[in-house]
């Protein structure tokens, strides 16, 4: 086999990609042929040079954020999601206030109505009704319900606003 024919084998030999018999054959040839030994050294130094040329290259820092953006996990998307949560929680808060206020007003109105009726129907036994409504339990329950919903909504909004943007990436 001529040195020219041997060249491709030497390239694979440098890469450690020959079978044992082939490796022995190339090693024998290199032992006797100085020009092929030089070629083998050249292949090795070329490999080292190519590696050192590119190994210190790194991707621009913005690429990571760009990938997240393309996948819809970017900062803008997260801000949009956060805004939706704030809107939903705010709507729930308004609803809670409206329900609480409405119930309180309704119960208060009912109580006044019953008092008027009890004056008008003097003598009628309204003790049970007066006992139930006279304590203002329903008003109290409505107020507690409203306050509970307000607290839940305020806590939820607080959590949404406090949560760091990056942690949202972990949620599937």
């Amino acid at each position: 086999m001529t040195c020219e024919d041997m060249s491709e084998w030497i390239s694979a030999y440098v890469d450690g990609e020959l079978r044992e018999a082939e490796r022995v054959m190339v090693r024998e040839h290199l032992h006797h042929c100085e020009s092929c030994r030089e070629l083998a050294k050249m292949f090795e130094s070329l490999s080292a040079r190519i590696e050192s040329t590119f190994m210190d290259l790194s991707a621009p820092p913005a690429v990571e954020a760009a990938i997240m953006q393309q996948l819809g996990w970017g900062r803008q998307a997260t801000q949009g999601l956060r805004l939706i949560w704030v809107v939903v929680c705010s709507a729930a808060l308004m609803m809670a206030l409206a329900v609480g206020g409405g119930l309180a007003m309704g119960v208060g109105g009912c109580w006044r109505l019953f008092r008027i009726l009890s004056h008008m129907l003097r003598g009628a036994n309204l003790l049970v009704i007066r006992t139930v409504f006279g304590q203002g339990w329903l008003g109290l329950a409505a107020m507690l319900l409203g306050m509970g919903m307000v607290v839940i909504c305020v806590v939820a909004i607080g959590r949404v606003l406090r949560q760091p943007l990056d942690s949202r990436l972990s949620s599937p």
Binding site: E8, S11, M55, S170
Partner: protein, 181 residues
């Protein structure tokens, strides 16, 4: 080549299960690896960046099809290499070296040697450049390169040899090449 440790394996498994944070970690770990492949093939920083983005988006969308997590480095390299080679074909890129103003700022200390090598590589055909990059920059063996490029091992061997011989010639001073200076 970037070593695949247990931590990476766990991240790949978690990312396959849909964990976004795990996938973000994988991007962090492999973006330079993918970028180097793309840059060495395309010789253009902006295009290489596009390849990195497209590769990871494709990877996330098809991650469930990756059966062996240990094959992730060659799998992501396959995606990136094919995208880069597609760009070469699609855009009919002229492989003459681009001007310095178009280059990504080179972080290398020895920038002259680096630019010489980039210019010499740029004169190889995309197929020869790809095989050389996968071997010398990413450290894949012949079997892996054959799988990534979808070519026989014998072709990998002959392309590598041809690429090295051409590169050697390109790196010689013009007077030794027999070309006008």
């Amino acid at each position: 080549m970037l070593q695949l440790d247990d931590n990476h394996l766990r991240q790949i498994q978690a990312a396959k299960a849909g964990n976004r944070e795990a996938f973000a970690q994988l991007v962090r770990s492999y973006k330079d690896f993918v970028y180097r492949t793309a840059y060495a093939i395309l010789h253009d920083g902006a295009e290489a960046e596009d390849v990195v983005q497209e590769s990871f988006v494709k990877a996330f969308l098809s991650l469930r099809s990756l059966r062996d997590e240990r094959a992730f480095p060659s799998w992501i390299s396959t995606i990136a290499t094919r995208i880069a080679l597609d760009i070469v074909k699609r855009r009919q890129v002229s492989w003459a070296p681009v001007s310095n103003s178009e280059r990504l700022p080179a972080p290398s200390v020895n920038s002259d040697l680096r630019l010489d090598m980039e210019a010499a590589l740029a004169q190889l055909s995309p197929e020869h450049r790809a095989v050389l990059v996968l071997r010398e920059v990413q450290g894949f063996d012949y079997r892996e390169i054959a799988d990534i490029l979808g070519i026989p091992i014998g072709t990998v061997r002959s392309r590598l040899h041809t690429a090295r011989m051409q590169l050697r010639l390109r790196l010689l001073p013009p007077e030794q090449r027999g070309e006008p200076q």
